[in-house]
Symmetry: C2
Subunit: 346 residues, 2 copies
């Protein structure tokens, strides 16, 4: 039985979802993959810190994490460390980086990932910032030391669109990618079809926890643009700087436009796309008025989808969740299995 | 550079599509996978036979195959062999089995695959018969000798639904599978929504080459049932004999029913499903009247789709082609890459 010692940066929703999956399937993974995942270190500025080289009890960790400082009440050591100090001293095989997203600098996550790779850890992140902005330098560092970077959770959470694109469809010749890559904006547009104004729909999205208090990252298309950059780099092998992705959000879409589209059998969707134009791939995020027969027109609410248009297969569309604690936790799990039991997975 | 010598049973549409892919991408696969695929043996009762241990010229083979007996006009030997004799004497590393489908006995394909495994070849088939009926015995034989069986093309041609289900979603806990698994019946039902009668729609499907002269395999649900059996065995690990899959076709669906469904915002689809009931998976093929919001309700024409309902991710739906010469040829290619360059693929 191989024991994999994990250090976690952040212990919010995704970390809790991931821990819940591990807790519920510990014996199954031991049997199927001959792997045991131990959480040996945590740094979370609110919930507390932990160092336990034998691996913390996962059920106790989940319970403790529901209250501020709760992790500090668990058995084990509780070092006064920040994430970087944890990475520099924790006895871990892999870092699971779940800090907040920054699409301007990719920090502090990029520093965390870099430091972990330098210290010979495999790394997993569900954080779009470092991957959209600095994937090449991280990948070069990983390659030098024969380490892995897991990024499945950065696009559509645990829906395995990156592995499908990279591994299962790349030989079919991907000529175009179109996606509904942001759940908040798709929820808002779907609500507007029922007659709500943009403002009403946004408020409902906020009330349901989909949209942040400052919704700009979603409604102005920044989140979707970061995912377009990640798809370009990871699936197409193209380096498209985030700043070169044409970006228009949904804030100018009116109820009248949505209703007029519906009357004509069409639907407005915020589409992130990569299309081959004039000898290179062009990245875009913009509202598009799709005919109802388009595979992405039917994707409603907070659900996400990607349509890969390929030379050999034509269109292959994958529809699934784009967020969620268990959903994103599953992406982390799949990345870990891909590192430590590659024959078990794509 | 590893050279992989292939023997082909049958040189019809799928074999030609596969050969076209190889011919167009020979240099790319050599570079990316360090593999060169050589076609060294062919047995086709109409188009001819071939033995060429150095590998036939793929372009010449494609041209020759367009006419009866044409393969016999190529350079190389043209043994007077049937498929079984070819398998017993060809110097091949892998068999690509593309003979006709028989859902009652799985023959002669099962004998071909068995004989090839006994002679230490990896095997690939796009033929539902042997996999729906005899997968376990074939897999046991393969395991004994550390050989591979490639079956991606048996369900939804090159749309990688089997790999997605087996490798990318299995850890998410698949609780139900629902699919539009037969293009002919979906085309007929889609046409009926435009006002055609069942008979008119069937005639159009036949005119377009979707439906056979004897359409029973499609319209009575036999084809979809075989795919349900394959999904049960390959994705869920459940052995569901074909005879135990409840099966109702679309022949009793009337234009009035289709129109009444449309008026109520619903759509009739022929759904193949596996659902967990009373402690075990139940397999079914039957027309179902789906609400238009169901991810499968939107899949029209000859397109196919599978919706995996999972414990951790909820629903993940994959929509793509269900047939076609290049599409099914791609499935063969992917199986080969999975055998000989497993790190390149899922």
């Amino acid at each position: 039985m191989q024991e994999i010692r994990l250090a976690l940066v952040g212990f919010g929703n995704v970390a809790q979802g991931f821990t819940q999956i591990l807790a519920e399937h510990e014996e199954e993974y031991a049997r199927k993959f001959d792997l045991r995942f131990l959480i040996v270190a945590i740094a979370d500025p609110v919930r507390g810190s932990l160092l336990d080289p034998d691996g913390v009890d996962l059920g106790a960790l989940l319970q403790a994490s529901s209250q501020p400082g709760g992790i500090n009440s668990l058995p084990g050591e509780h070092p006064d460390w920040d994430a970087l100090q944890m990475i520099q001293s924790a006895p871990a095989d892999a870092l699971v980086e779940l800090s907040f997203t920054n699409l301007t600098t990719g920090e502090p996550a990029t520093t965390y990932l870099t430091e972990a790779l330098r210290r010979n850890m495999n790394v997993i992140t569900t954080n779009k910032g470092p991957i959209a902005l600095h994937y090449d330098q991280l990948a070069a560092l990983a390659r030098l030391q024969d380490l892995h970077i897991g990024v499945e959770g950065t696009v559509m959470s645990g829906t395995p669109v990156l592995r499908v694109g990279r591994r299962l469809l790349s030989n079919a010749g991907i000529e175009r990618i179109q996606g509904i890559l942001n759940g908040t904006t798709n929820f808002i547009l779907t609500q507007m079809e029922t007659g709500q104004s943009y403002t009403q729909a946004l408020q409902q999205a906020q009330a349901m926890g989909y949209a942040e208090a400052d919704p700009a990252g979603d409604v102005e298309g920044f989140d979707a643009a970061a995912k377009v950059a990640i798809l370009a780099r990871l699936v197409l092998g193209e380096n498209l700087p985030l700043a070169q992705i044409e970006r228009t959000g949904i804030t100018a879409i009116t109820l009248e436009q949505v209703q007029a589209a519906a009357a004509a059998g069409n639907r407005w969707k915020l589409i992130g796309s990569l299309s081959y134009e004039n000898g290179k791939f062009k990245g875009r995020v913009r509202p598009e008025c799709l005919p109802i027969s388009h595979p992405l027109a039917q994707v409603s609410g907070a659900t996400n989808a990607i349509c890969y248009s390929t030379h050999l297969l034509g269109d292959v569309t994958i529809i699934g969740p784009g967020a969620g604690r268990l959903q994103t936790g599953y992406a982390v799990l799949q990345d870990l299995i891909a590192f430590y039991c590659p024959e078990c997975i794509g």
